[in-house]
Amino acid sequence: MYKTMEQVWQEYDGYWVYMVNCREDEYGSAIGGEVIKYDKDKRVIYKEIGKHPGKGHQFFSYIGKIPDRLGVFV
């Protein structure tokens, strides 16, 4: 089922998601698609990459805010 990114952010906060049949905005970013896998463990999502047919581009990313206790220094 197609979901907008706003819906995805509401429903999958704190999860990694994998989406197919993505529609893009004018900047080329995914504005929605079908979530076919979600998990707290990104390795589960990575294993799904490329296993699913469909039109358009596919998208995978973490959804949600990075926990406050965690800073990022790269």
Binding site: C22, Y27, S29, Y62, I66, V74
Partner: protein, 139 residues
Amino acid sequence: MKPNELVMKWFGQSLQVNLKFWSERKGRFFGADLIFDTGATVSVISEDVLIALGYDVAAGGTKKITTASGPEFVKEVVLDKIMLGNHEMCNVKVYAYEFPYEMYTSGVIGLDIISTFDIHLLFSQGLIKLHTGGNNEIT
């Protein structure tokens, strides 16, 4: 698509942008949000992602990079094609690295890619403007 613009996506205080990877094996683009980091000299992508896209991470050479936790060895991979906004780039060298589990991104776009453009960071508008004509001599 609007020319030359990327949307800033904030994950906490981490700035990310959408990048699309072309997978020759899968015959399609795969998009992901990656950290946009002008402080990183090289671009580093999750090794698991590159393998899933069909790239042979063992075929290239290795490079020693310095991270906050000390030196690490990464593997050189040449991507067939990427899309950053509406800019298509071919044969882009990146490095495969196994990020820590609690790293909420699949990669870091560093200066080696960023500096091929002149950029404007428009924080008030949440946009990054890319213009061709940056420094192409960084390797």
